[in-house]
Symmetry: D2
C-alpha cells in the first residue's frame, strides 16, 4: 500500500468481549462488516478504541487476524501494534504484516518519558523489521509522550514511515506538519471535534470510532469537503459535533459501547478497570443519538 | 452600528511614537489611511498591537480621537477601552462613544483573578454607561483571565454586548460559542495562525495587525472563504502563515515595528520595557517578507 | 538598609477605602500600627494585598507616604513600586526613596510577555535611578511573567538588586535559587501555604498579609524555626494552614477585608471590579478564625 | 506488617539485565544486599526504577521472588504489582503475597484516563484478593493519572490500603493529605528533590533509588530530621541535591545505570526503547559523584 492509498474515513472498531471476558470475534467481524457496508474507506483495529493496551499478546493477534480476514482487501487495514517495549512492538508489527495488514500504526507509549533519540531508534527498529508502511501516531493524552512536529518530520525520513495521525486537537500542529513536510504529507486527524478544521488544513483522512454510530454523517462531512462545498461541510460538522464531543469527553470504549447498546448491539463488559458509562451519561448519549435520528423508534 | 455591520478584516494599528516618546498622531493617521486604502473592513485602535495598557489616559484619548477622525465613518471603528478598574474602563468607553467610535472592545484585565460574578458586573457597569455595542475580548495570554465559552455566552445576554473576539487559538472554543449562541453569533478570531480554521468554523471576521504588512493576502483569504473557494483560501492561508506565526511568536508591537521599518516606515521607539526586535529576528522577518514580495527591491 | 536587615515576618497591609472610594489613610495607619504592636519585622505597603495596580499614581504616593511615616523607622519598609512601563516604575521608586522607604519591591508586570533582555533592562534602569535596595518579586499568577531562577540570579548581579520574593509556590525554585546564589541569598517566600517548607529551605522571611488576622501564629512559626524547634514549627504551621489556604484560594484583598470585618474593622468597599467575598465564603472564614480563637465571643 | 512498620529510607533497586537481555538475578541480589549493608530501612523492587512496566509477567515474578528471598525478612519489602488491567494487578499482588512480600504498591496506570469510581473499584478488587497492606502510588508523570488528595483519602478507607507514596513534587499535596487523613497517615515522598520538605511536612519515609549511589547521605538526612537537627538536615539535603535533581531530570533507570557503571558495577543494557545516558550526561554525573567523593580515585 502506498501512503496515498489511505484517505477518507478511517474507522476504528472497538474490541467486543463475551460475558466470560473473551474477545468476541464473531461480533467484532459483524461490527467491521457494518462499517464496510456503510462505506468507510479503511478499517483500523487495535486503536485506542479497541483497547489495544489492555489486551494480551494472544488477544491482539486474534483481533488482528479476524479483522484483516473480514476486510479481505476490500479497503486498507491499519493495525495498531504499539507496546511499551521495542521488542514487543516488532513482534506485533511482524504479525500484522504476516496476516496481511495494509499498514501498521505506532504510538510511542510511555512510562518513562523517551528522548527523541530513543523514539527515533524505536521506530527505526520496527521499520527495519517489516516492509509495510508505518503510521506515526501522536496522542499525548493516552500515550503520555508528545511528539513535536519536528520530531514527526524526522520519523517520516525513515523509509517506510509514511503517515501521521495527529490527535493533540491543535490545528496549529497540522499547519506545522504541512510546512515541514509539504502539502503531499499523508496526515490524518485523530481528534474528533477537529474533523472539519483538519480537513481544511489538508488532512487526508479522519481516524474515528464514530462510524459505529453515525457513519453516514461522517462520510457526508468528508464528501462535502472533497467537492469543495464548505457550507454543507460546516452543516454536517456542526450537526455531528455534540456526539463527537461526547465520545471524546467520556472516552471512546465506554461511549461507543453505550451507543451500540442503545442501538441494540450488546458488546459485553469493558475490560477492568474500565467500567460502563454511568446512567446519566447513557441518557445524555441517548438524547444526542435521538436528535440525530439514528435510534429506532 | 448593529453587530452584523462588523465583519471581514478588522485591522489593528500600532501606536507609533516620536523620538521624544510622544504618540505620533500624524504617523498614526497615515498608517490608518494606508489600511483603509488597502481595503480593510474596520479599524481597531488601542488593541494589544496598539500597546493600550502602556499608555496614559491622555494618550489613549488622543489615539482614540485621532483614529476615529481619520476613519471618518468610512468603515466601523472598534476602540479598545479596557482598564484594570471598572471606573477607568467606563471613562474610556464614554470617551470613545463621545468622539464617535462605532463600538468598543473590552478585555477583562487581571492582576487578581476575577470571579465570573465580578466579570459580569464589570461588563454590565460599562454597558449601562454607554449606548454603542461592546465586543468581549478573550485573550488569557495577555489579559491573564480566561473566559470560558459559557461565561462569554452569559456576557452576551447584556443588551449592548453583541460581539466576541476569541484569541485563545483553540478552534474548539469557537465551536462551543456557536453551539451556545447560535450560528448568527458575531464572533471574531484574534489568533492569527487560526485565520482559516476560524472562518471555516463561522467567524464573521479576523482581528489582525497583519494588514500593516500584507493587507492584500489578508483580504484575499477572506474573499476566498466568502466565495466558498476552499482551495484558494487554503493557498492564501499557507502563503501568509509564516508571517502570522512570526508576529505571534515575537509579539505584535515588536514585529510590526520591525516590518514597517523594513518597508521604510519608522515608527519610533517602543515603550519600555518593550524593546525592538533583536537583529537575528529582524533578518528572519526580512526573509519572510521578501518571500512574500512586499519589500522594495 | 543592607539586604540582611530584612527578615522574619514581612507584613503586607491592605489599602482600605472610605465609602466614597478614597484611600482611608487613617485606617491604613491604624492597621499598620496594629501590625507593629503585634511584633512583625517589616511592613510592605502596595503589594498585591494593597491592590497597588488598581490605584492611581496619586493614591500610590499617598499610601507610600502614610505608611512610611507611620512606621517611622521602627522596622524596615518595603514599598511596591511596579508598573507596566519602566518610566512609571522609576517614578514610583524615586518617590518611595524620597519619602524614606527602606527598599522597594518590583514585579515585572506583563501585558506583552517580556524577553529576559527586556526584564534585565527594566530592573537596571530603575536600579540606576535610586540608591535603596530593590527586591525582585516573582509571581506569575498575578504579574503574568515567570522569572526562571537563572533570570533572577542574573537580576541579582545588578548592584542594588539584593533580594528576591518567590511566590510560585514551588519549593524547588527556592532550592535552585540557593544553588545559584549561595546560602546567604536574601530570599523571601510569598506563597502562604509554603511558609514552613520555605523557611526550612533557607528563606530569610515570609511576605504575608496573614498578620492582619493571626500575627501571633505567624510570628510563632518563625520563632520556632529560628530556635531549631521543628515539632513546634510544624504544629504552628498546620494550625494556621487552613487560613493560609483560604486567603490564597479566594484572593488576599477579598479575604483579608472579610476577616477584618468579622473582627470589627470595616475597611470599606473593594475597588471594582473586585467585589466582597460571597456569603458562604464569609461563613467559611468565620469558622476558620473561630477555630483559631481570634474572634471575640 | 502494620502500616507503621514502614518508614525511613525505602530503597528502589533497578532491574539489571544480562547481555542477552535476561533479568540478571545474581546482580540484582547483590545490589539489594549492598543496600541492606548500607542500612536502608526497606526494599521496594519493581518500582519505576525497576522498569516494572517493561517486564513480562514471568520476569516480574522472578524479580519479586529473588528480592524477597534475598531480603529474607531483615527489612520490609514493598513490591510493585501495577498493571493496566485489574486482572493482571490482582495476579501480581497475589504472587507477591505468596512469596512473602510485606506489602504491595499500586499506581493506577493509564491509557484511557480512569474515573474516580473506576480507580476505587480497581484498588478495592485488588485489596479483596490479598491480605497484606497496599500502598497507593501517585505519580502522574509516569502513570498518566493524577490522584487528587481527596481521591487518595477515599482509597485509604479500603481496609488494607494503608499507605501513600506521593510523587507529584508538590508539598501542598502532602499538607492536604495530612489535613484529610490526620498526622498519623503513613505517607511517603517519591519526589527526590522534595526529600527535606516532605520530611518536614510529616512524611514517614522517602522512596528513592539514590541509595544505589549515595546511601550514607540519604540516611544522614533522615537521621538529622529524626533527631530534630534542622541545620544538619538542611546541610545533608543541599549536599545531595545536585544528584537528586540529575536522576530526576534524566530518568532513574538511565542515570542509576550510568552511576553504577562509574562505580564499577555494570548492570547491562536498558530495555529498549530506553537507551543508555548520552556521553555528556555521563560526564555530568561523574562530576556530581566526584564532588560527593563516592567514586574511587
Amino acid at each position: 500500500m502506498s501512503a496515498v492509498a489511505l484517505r477518507g474515513i478511517v474507522s476504528y472498531p472497538i474490541t467486543p468481549f463475551t460475558h466470560s471476558n473473551q474477545v468476541d470475534e464473531t461480533l467484532l467481524r459483524n461490527i467491521v462488516e457494518n462499517m464496510l457496508r456503510a462505506g468507510v474507506h479503511a478499517i483500523a483495529p487495535l486503536g485506542s478504541t479497541g483497547v489495544m493496551p489492555y489486551l494480551s499478546d494472544e488477544e491482539r493477534e486474534a483481533v488482528t487476524e479476524a479483522v484483516v480476514k473480514q476486510v479481505d482487501g476490500r479497503v486498507p487495514t491499519l493495525v495498531g501494534v504499539s507496546s511499551l517495549t521495542t521488542e514487543r512492538t516488532v513482534h506485533h508489527a511482524r504479525y500484522a504484516q504476516a496476516v496481511g495488514a495494509s499498514a501498521v500504526m505506532i504510538i510511542p507509549m510511555s512510562y518513562w518519558k523517551l528522548t527523541d533519540k530513543e523514539i527515533v531508534k524505536h521506530y527505526d527498529t520496527v521499520a527495519k523489521a517489516i516492509s509495510i508502511p508505518i503510521a506515526v501516531y501522536n496522542n499525548p493524552a493516552t500515550g503520555g509522550i508528545d511528539l513535536a512536529p519536528e520530531t514527526i518530520a524526522q520519523l517520516l525520513e525513515i523509509p517506510n514511515v509514511t503517515m501521521v495521525k495527529e490527535s493533540t486537537g491543535d490545528v496549529n500542529r497540522m499547519h506545522r506538519l504541512v510546512q515541514l513536510c509539504g502539502e503531499k504529507l499523508s496526515f490524518f486527524n485523530g481528534s474528533n471535534p477537529l474533523a472539519l478544521a483538519a480537513f481544511v488544513a489538508g488532512a487526508k483522512g479522519w481516524c474515528t470510532a464514530a462510524p459505529h454510530l453515525i457513519p453516514a454523517l461522517n462520510l457526508e462531512l468528508y464528501a462535502a469537503v472533497e467537492r469543495n462545498d464548505l457550507p454543507s461541510a460546516k452543516k454536517a460538522f456542526y450537526r455531528q459535533l455534540p456526539l463527537l464531543q461526547f465520545i471524546v469527553k467520556y472516552g471512546l470504549p465506554r461511549t461507543i459501547a453505550a451507543g451500540l447498546g442503545l442501538m441494540g448491539i450488546e458488546v459485553g463488559p469493558l475490560r477492568a478497570p474500565l467500567q460502563p458509562l454511568e446512567r446519566p451519561q447513557v441518557e445524555e448519549i441517548r438524547t444526542i443519538l435521538g436528535e440525530l435520528e439514528v435510534l429506532a423508534r
